[in-house]
């Protein structure tokens, strides 16, 4: 169930990116990013109000938890600036390399509050097959 929800997220990402990029082309990427996040803020303010939940306690909040919101905007802007220069395939490839290295570091060392999941030799064959699949995709 958990893994299926991750798969579903992949489907939603395509639609979000597609709609945002069309809006970005018709207006500007800055407006599209702004619209997306401001409307998200409005919707979740309404949801919190309906659930009678308070906003997050800013006094107790560690600084690093402010990063996701900022990074979300950077993601949209970086994709929009780099794609015309290096192309979608190279963007996806380097993006994937960055994601793979970062995720394996997080898992292996247990960073950012995630449990430690050291890389296991016996899973090497599975990882190699995954890598083969990625290479096939880029052919």
């Amino acid at each position: 169930m958990v893994k299926f929800s991750a798969f579903l997220a992949g489907i939603l990402i395509i639609f979000v990116n597609y709609f945002n990029s069309v809006m970005g082309q018709e207006s500007s990427v800055f407006f599209a990013a702004s619209y997306y996040h401001v409307s998200g803020f409005v919707i979740f303010t309404i949801i919190l109000f309906l659930r009678k939940e308070s906003f997050i306690d800013f006094k107790k909040l560690q600084l690093r938890y402010y990063l996701p919101g900022l990074f979300s905007v950077f993601t949209i802007l970086i994709a929009s600036f780099t794609m015309p220069v290096i192309g979608a395939t190279m963007l996806m490839a380097f993006n994937l390399i960055g994601q793979t290295i970062t995720s394996n570091l997080i898992d292996h060392f247990g960073l950012l509050g995630m449990p430690k999941r050291p890389l296991e030799k016996k899973k090497l064959i599975g990882y190699s097959i995954i890598l083969l699949g990625i290479i096939i995709m880029f052919l």
Partner: protein, 156 residues
């Protein structure tokens, strides 16, 4: 060169974002986490728009853009709630790979529907990735069983 580094950096932040949001969700609630994320995102995006963006008044885009594209946020709401849910429950590597497979398969179908382009290599590649994930999941399952058997034997 810098564009390749930016693409790499984008990969780094695309992983860190759901991991941090997942951890915050464990400490508060998924709605508070999503609200904070969009609050910070909204403030920064608006600030950047006001500094760098061109005026939308008079471009006529408001009349040109179909209402459909304004619905991106409804997908976005479900997306962030899903991410808050699974990000703390699976390894970071799976946070990367499983949505990637979902994106690839959806992308192949959308390309076929919109522009009549069918990429068999992408579909095969996604299938091979799923096979690799399945093999590793089976290894994990087998290890867990062995561990449980050992613990039960130790208890007896």
């Amino acid at each position: 060169m810098i564009y390749y580094l930016l693409a790499l950096f984008m990969g780094v932040i695309v992983v860190i974002t759901p991991v941090l949001n997942g951890q915050l969700t464990l400490r508060t609630s998924t709605y508070k986490t999503a609200h904070l994320s969009f609050l910070v995102g909204g403030l920064s995006a608006t600030a950047i728009f006001l500094i760098f963006g061109n005026s939308i008044i008079g471009t006529g885009f408001l009349s040109n853009t179909q209402p459909l594209y304004y619905s991106s946020i409804f997908f976005g709401v479900f997306l962030i709630l899903l991410m808050n849910y699974y990000s703390s429950r699976i390894p970071a590597f799976l946070i990367v790979i499983i949505p990637f497979v979902g994106q690839t398969i959806t992308g192949v179908l959308v390309d076929y529907y919109l522009i009549d382009k069918f990429s068999l290599t992408k579909l095969i590649g996604a299938g091979v990735i799923l096979l690799g994930l399945y093999i590793n999941a089976q290894i994990e399952k087998r290890d867990r069983k062995k561990r449980l058997i050992k613990e039960n034997q130790g208890g007896n």
